[in-house]
């Protein structure tokens, strides 16, 4: 376990996180269900978290892992408020299709 940085180049982690982030972007653009869009935002946050942990490990600096900890805190708060907003939207419009939420569109 402790010879990861000798066997795996940092490029592989960069490619993995870029692919995961792009799948999150694809989900946000592709789907119409607001809950799935939320989940894809979580996927993007996790891709960034993984890259920060990888760089923290390769550079020997624990600040990156503390930042990941704070990103998890913010993600938890964001999800609780966001799902409350979704419940509110569903109660008012009986739908969570984001195409129905065009009141602010001119």
């Amino acid at each position: 376990m402790n010879n990861v940085i000798l066997n795996i180049p940092i490029q592989w982690y960069i490619y993995l996180t870029v692919i995961l982030f792009s799948i999150g972007v694809l989900g946000v653009l592709f789907r119409r269900n607001a809950i799935i869009i939320f989940m894809c935002v979580e996927l993007m946050l996790n891709a960034v978290n993984l890259l920060m942990v990888a760089f923290s490990r390769y550079l020997g600096d624990s600040g990156g892992q503390v930042f990941v900890f704070f990103i998890m805190v913010v993600a938890a708060a964001e999800v609780s408020v966001g799902l409350a907003i979704l419940m509110m939207i569903y109660r008012n419009t009986k739908s969570i299709d984001i195409d129905d939420l065009n009141k602010l569109k001119w």
Partner: protein, 167 residues
């Protein structure tokens, strides 16, 4: 090929495959379950990178709390069937092309950022609870306390948003 590379490729395959299934699957409950699989694979990556504390916190917070919250909302709204109406194909093609171009741009940008290996870190125990706790409570004490205020605000906001209107 060393054993760590096998573990890396296995976890990477699981993570990317289930992430694609999150986007493709029509049923929201299946999407949540595939996202939990992705999170477990990412926790395996954290263990591979010797960040045990973050792996445990990741499992507890994401798979234990956030995904359960998603499942509760899906079940409360009774969305566990394929309700998504069929859309036109042009926005879907545009989404696929846009995210594919985005991925290619990021890879082309980052592939020459650092050639070869980074200098190997001397201290490989930075991910353990002991060392991370020392850093967290010495250098990052103020952000830690501020995050508690953030949680309080999020809790008040969630309760306020989801309560019924009185009149």
């Amino acid at each position: 090929m060393p054993i760590t590379q096998y573990i890396f490729f296995f976890l990477t395959f699981v993570a990317i495959f289930s992430a694609i299934l999150v986007v493709i699957d029509k049923n929201p409950v299946h999407s949540v379950l595939y996202l939990i699989v992705t999170f477990f694979a990412l926790a395996g990556h954290y263990l591979l990178l010797n960040a045990q504390f973050l792996a445990a916190v990741h499992i507890i917070v994401y798979a234990g709390a956030i995904m359960v919250l998603f499942l509760y909302v899906i079940m409360m709204l009774n969305l566990n069937k394929e309700i998504e109406p069929h859309k036109k194909n042009i926005p879907k093609f545009a989404a696929v092309i846009a995210s594919g171009v985005f991925m290619l741009c990021l890879i082309a940008l980052l592939t020459n950022a650092q050639k070869g290996m980074l200098p190997a870190a001397q201290n490989e125990n930075i991910g353990l609870v002991e060392n991370l706790g020392k850093v967290l409570f010495r250098e990052y004490m103020l952000p830690f306390e501020v995050s508690s205020i953030l949680f309080l605000a999020a809790m008040v906001g969630a309760v306020f948003l989801s309560k019924k209107e009185i009149n």
